[in-house]
């Protein structure tokens, strides 16, 4: 429901936007004939920024005025000095005259740089300058040459910080798009690896890159991804999450619908399954489309170790996530409403441990769960070294002190720490966030309606999960609708030789349509 509304709005606003953009470029379409006018135009558009260099000179000892414009910090000074400037200032035996086709001459003959193009719109010129190109303008020519001279400082390739594995490649993406693409190219040396480039963000003009394997990825999916990305109407894109929130099918959902990774090997594996990766300049996190729920329980490390163990670990992750979600709620339900369901010895033990606790179990549970969340958040905010100390000290000392003071029961401390530890077992951070968040409403329902409260809520949640889709793929895909072949790499991790080349066929495709249906009725 929400989605449709949302997208309609997007479409309309986009139409308006593209119209205005069109008008804009019409007005300033051409580069003026005179170089002075051009420079003036550029100066008004770019403003008095210190880092923009306007270098005027006479072309190769002739009287033809020319100029190069570039941004100091985005360009390779060496290249400008040694190649571009040398070319345009050197004394030629046969100097060009005003009557020659200067542009073609320089474009095809003189400039000895690989990446060279021409343009005649001011807007494009500005765009190119901002990307770190050097613009070469010649008086009397209403076109400009863009010379690819961009170079800036980047972080070197480091070990992945979040997606750690014991065994496996130790490289991760950086903030630089070019670098990231090169990492992927080096993994997949194949002519079918394609990169589609886009520029998104009114202000930031962020470079976005859609990457897929031609002939593996569904072409309609590629176009769908592209059109959704093009529909983004946003000032700035600073991280791939900005894209995620715009392009997912259900923007109001709490569930993560796109997987993200910082590991080139994971992206390569996903591309080979026919998925599509979205790179975003400025972040090491790459989005993967489409994503199914089960994917969040897999980690690239699964493929680098024994498959029995990997399967075991995957099951542990399922169990851990279920525990995180339900343990606090079940604890409340059992000890405040369904005491008859606890084995006698355990019930007496719990009753004994709670004997002098002044708070009702519900209040106690909320108190401790929220304290735990605060501790965790504080641990992230603080510097790395201090953070660990705080969380350990907080958890141990506060927990111990609270128990000693008789404010909370030791059992509750066990429940809280078990919940916490289980939530760390998930390889995907964003799913962990969802689960941590969802356990609070569950706790409220448990305190009101006990086990039926939890069970109905979980069923409704499951119904919701089965109904949502990620780029046309049912979210709970290999489980329901059931596609048995895909169990090999979701619930289990079959040996790699069994996974073969059709590692994942994810999902099934609809064949016929029906007249009466509730779901598509609004679309």
């Amino acid at each position: 429901m929400f989605r449709n509304f949302f997208h309609k709005k997007v479409r309309i606003s986009n139409l308006i936007e593209s119209n205005t953009r069109h008008d804009d470029s019409n007005q300033l379409a051409k580069i003026p004939h005179s170089i002075d006018e051009t420079l003036a135009a550029l100066q008004t558009r770019l403003g008095e920024s210190k880092d923009i260099i306007y270098r005027c000179f006479l072309l190769n000892q002739t009287n033809i005025r020319a100029s190069i414009v570039y941004i100091d910090d985005l360009t390779d000074a060496n290249m400008i000095n040694n190649q571009v400037m040398k070319t345009v200032l050197s004394d030629l035996n046969d100097p060009p005259t005003k009557n020659d086709d200067l542009l073609s001459l320089y474009l095809f003959k003189f400039i000895d740089v690989g990446d060279v193009s021409k343009t005649h719109s001011i807007s494009e010129v500005i765009e190119k300058i901002l990307q770190g190109n050097t613009i070469f303008l010649i008086d009397g020519v209403s076109q400009a040459i863009c010379i690819g001279t961009s170079k800036w400082e980047t972080r070197s390739i480091e070990e992945p910080t979040v997606e750690n594995t014991i065994r496996g490649p130790k490289e991760s993406f950086t903030e630089d798009l070019k670098n990231n693409i090169s990492l992927l190219r080096r993994k997949i040396k194949n002519e079918n690896l394609r990169f589609l480039s886009l520029n998104i963000g009114e202000t930031t003009k962020t470079d976005i890159c859609i990457s897929y394997l031609h002939k593996k990825a569904d072409p309609s999916l590629v176009t769908e991804v592209k059109s959704r990305l093009e529909n983004i109407d946003m000032e700035g894109i600073l991280e791939s999450r900005y894209l995620e929130e715009w392009i997912v099918d259900h923007p109001y959902s709490v569930f993560p619908q796109l997987d993200h990774t910082e590991r080139p090997d994971r992206v390569a594996a996903m591309l080979m399954e026919g998925r599509i990766a979205i790179f975003c300049n400025g972040t090491p996190w790459v989005l993967i489309v489409p994503t199914i729920f089960m994917q969040f329980f897999t980690s690239p490390g699964d493929y680098y170790q024994n498959f029995y163990f990997s399967t075991f670990i995957r099951w542990l992750r399922f169990i851990a996530s279920m525990l995180t979600l339900t343990i606090p709620a079940f604890y409340i339900a059992l000890i405040t409403m369904h005491q008859e369901m606890i084995p006698t010895q355990l019930a007496l033990r719990i009753a004994g441990s709670r004997a002098n606790v002044p708070f009702p179990a519900v209040v106690e549970a909320f108190l401790m769960e929220i304290t735990f969340e605060i501790l965790r958040e504080a641990g992230i905010r603080l510097p790395k070294a201090a953070g660990q100390a705080v969380s350990i000290v907080g958890a141990l000392i506060i927990g111990q002190a609270a128990v000693d003071a008789g404010i909370v029961s030791p059992i509750k401390i066990i429940v809280v720490s078990l919940t916490g530890i289980c939530s760390f077992a998930l390889p995907n951070y964003s799913l962990g966030l969802t689960i941590r968040l969802l356990r609070f409403p569950l706790m409220i329902l448990a305190s009101l309606l006990g086990i039926p409260g939890i069970a109905v809520a979980l069923l409704a949640l499951l119904t919701y999960m089965t109904s949502i889709k990620s780029f046309g793929l049912p979210y709970l895909s290999p489980l329901s609708p059931l596609t048995q072949g895909d169990f090999k790499d979701t619930l289990f991790r079959a040996p790699l030789f069994k996974l073969g080349n059709n590692k994942s066929k994810f999902g099934f495709k609809p064949k016929n349509k029906n007249e009466f249906d509730i779901e598509d009725e609004e679309q």
Binding site: T336, M337, E340, T344, R349, G352, A355, P410
Partner: protein, 388 residues
Amino acid sequence: MKKSRILLISFILLICILLSGCWNRREIESLSFVLASGIDQSGDQFQLSTQVVNTEALAKNAPSGIHSYFVFTSKGKTIFDAVRNATQSAPSKLFWSHTKVLVLSEEVAQKGALSALGFFIRDAEERRNFHILVTPGRAETVINADVKTKSLPAMALANTLESNYKSTSQTSIVTLNDFLLEIHGTECPIVPTIKIIKTQKGEQEYQILGSAVFNKDKFISYLSPIETRGVQWVKGKVKSGIIVTPCLDAGKNDKDGKISFEIYQEKSKIDIKKGNNQISIEVHIKERGNLAEGACIKSEINPNTLAKINKLKETAIKEEIQGALKKAYELKTDVFGFGEQIHRKYPKDWKTMKDNWSNKFPSIPVKIIVDSRINGTGLIQVNEGGKK
């Protein structure tokens, strides 16, 4: 869009409704866990004694010397009446889900156990797998008994009952469900009996000894431990036990020592035979056991002597069963469940016998066939005494 808003509003409304009251909420530490209860007759009223756990005593830093349980006594016209009246003295409503043991006094059992059990059958908090016991004296004293125990007395009682049954089989274990199951048929339940005895030091102790026979839900008489095991043999419920017989080659005097066998029952089968319109019963018992004590055996242990020793065991078992049969005939109660067996095999004949079964049952011939064997002779192959 509108619909989602409606859903949202209804959800908020729902939460409001829900927040207005939390009906079933009760904190676990404030519950009065009833672990054992006893029912006595007090005039024409029931007297209910309940053993309630003192949760404070289970706390980590509980003051020492604090009693681990309380006993509350209340009276009422019905059991439920008495349960509610218990709140006159108990700190909170009694919580019955964790009951382990229910003790009926002989008096109550004589009047009909069902009237006392009705509450336990119907109540949603109740489970059907707690033990039922009968005491010759007052149930109150059993519940009140301050016995030596590591844990709570009720738990200790349940454990004693189970271990006693498992190691001697001279009692029976009857849960509420078993009891109901048997009184619906013509089988007469036998329920373990319990007594409180005083040791020399003056401490109280549980003693579980034999069983009480019921006809339908009414108490009739007691069975001795040996008779109880006789019944259990036929029912196939002997787990393990010890049989002591006079020594092999021994004369009639006891000086020659005794042999004890450890017995394990494997199976029992009640075969109903019908010939010449006369129904007869054959009881097949399959038993495997070990020779546990036999210092008095003089001869070398070889298959021959073993067979002889085995014979001793066989006769002993047979005697136990016959003893039980005799008692059953006396009491005119079908504790063995022969009636149900006939019902299952010959439903038509059963219809004619059904109404007069308790009178008719002693006249049916019963043949006992024991298949007994000695599996092991322990760690000693040849008896030391035999060699000398």
